[in-house]
């Protein structure tokens, strides 16, 4: 048994997430990862935008900042730049981070500022009632794509890698242990790190797409997500329709606040 209650604001429970929503599973994985990395809770700040995932900070007993839609990363950038001693975690979703906040997302990755971004990807705008998002698959239904979505999707992890993130991993809530491990690695990485976490939304996504039961969506994850080691053994053919999880990139690059510190020290030494 893991004592989650030590890390949460118990007075705010039960949480607001729907029955079978994966967000609670991510929160638990995050808490375990926080415990494993031994981070100081006084020095940890969690920043979120708007959406279901963005309600996470309210439940965690650290410094928490629930901001405007898409803007978690700019607020987090301000916090981190102002006080690099703080550990800054961003919790966001597919719509929040890659639609309204897309510009901030790619630029934080480019800047390689030391933020840990946990992006809950549930393929839909859950909180506003199931509108299609940049990750709603083609052909799937949403309240604003009632005849099936016709727009291609973002590969979020690929986007972060292309933009310059130093650590990118993908995980899912069916494999909750792996999810915890990836979050832990991201927390320990110096630089911009992203964990894209596939998590089910039975209410707004599943119900419209013949997967109303939370169990069905978990089974979908089980059957479609393949970890890195297994992925390597799959033929091109077998990879079709599957999603690779695990570490996608892990490189060391100059981190923004450290580079700024160097600059300051150089200027002040003159």
């Amino acid at each position: 048994m893991f004592n989650y209650l030590e890390y949460v604001r118990e007075e705010n429970f039960p949480h607001i997430w729907c029955s079978g929503c994966g967000d609670g599973i991510v929160l638990k994985a995050l808490i375990r990862a926080m415990e494993a990395t031994g981070m100081s809770r006084d020095e940890a700040v969690m920043v979120s935008g708007i959406g279901c995932s963005s309600r996470t900070p309210g439940y965690v007993d650290i410094n928490t900042l629930h901001t405007t839609h898409g803007r978690a990363i700019p607020f987090a950038t301000g916090v981190k730049h102002a006080n690099p001693g703080l550990k800054v975690i961003v919790v966001t979703g597919d719509g929040d981070a890659t639609a309204i906040g897309g510009n901030h997302f790619i630029h934080a990755a480019r800047r390689n500022i030391d933020l840990t971004v946990l992006l809950y990807n549930n393929y839909i705008y859950g909180m506003t009632g199931g509108q299609c998002s940049p990750t709603t698959p083609i052909g799937y239904k949403a309240s604003t794509a009632q005849f099936g979505n016709i727009e291609p999707t973002f590969n979020i992890s690929g986007l972060a890698i292309a933009a310059g993130a130093s650590f990118v991993a993908r995980a899912d809530v069916y494999n909750a242990k792996q999810c915890e491990k990836m979050i832990g690695l991201a927390l320990e990485k110096k630089g911009f790190s992203l964990v894209e976490i596939l998590t089910p939304c039975p209410t707004a996504f599943g119900r419209r797409n013949k997967m109303a039961s939370p169990v069905k969506l978990m089974e979908w994850l089980r059957d479609h997500v393949v970890s890195g080691a297994k992925w390597e053994k799959l033929s091109e053919e077998d990879r079709e329709g599957k999603i690779r999880s695990g570490i996608l990139i892990d490189v060391d690059k100059p981190e923004y606040t450290e580079e700024y510190k160097k600059l300051t020290e150089k200027l002040r030494a003159v």
Binding site: M1, F2, Y4, L5, V8, F13, P14, H15, W17, C18, S19, G20, C21, G22, D23, G24, I25, K28, V173, Y174, A176, K177, P202, S213, P214, V215, M218, E219
Partner: protein, 69 residues
Amino acid sequence: MTEEQSASKKSAVIRVKTEWCKGCEICVAFCPKDVLEMEGGKVKVARPDDCIKCMLCELRCPDFAITVE
């Protein structure tokens, strides 16, 4: 309100915080030993003696409602 049932042989204690359980059935569906059941929209520990303490129910419970000791 905590429902507690202990498995004497393997000493696994599965606790369900029923007021937090939202009845998603994830724990029931993926328990490898069929320990859990649904009752009145909430999870119930039906066969605690069969529990092998794999912890999967605790790991995957989105509602912080089930723990295994």
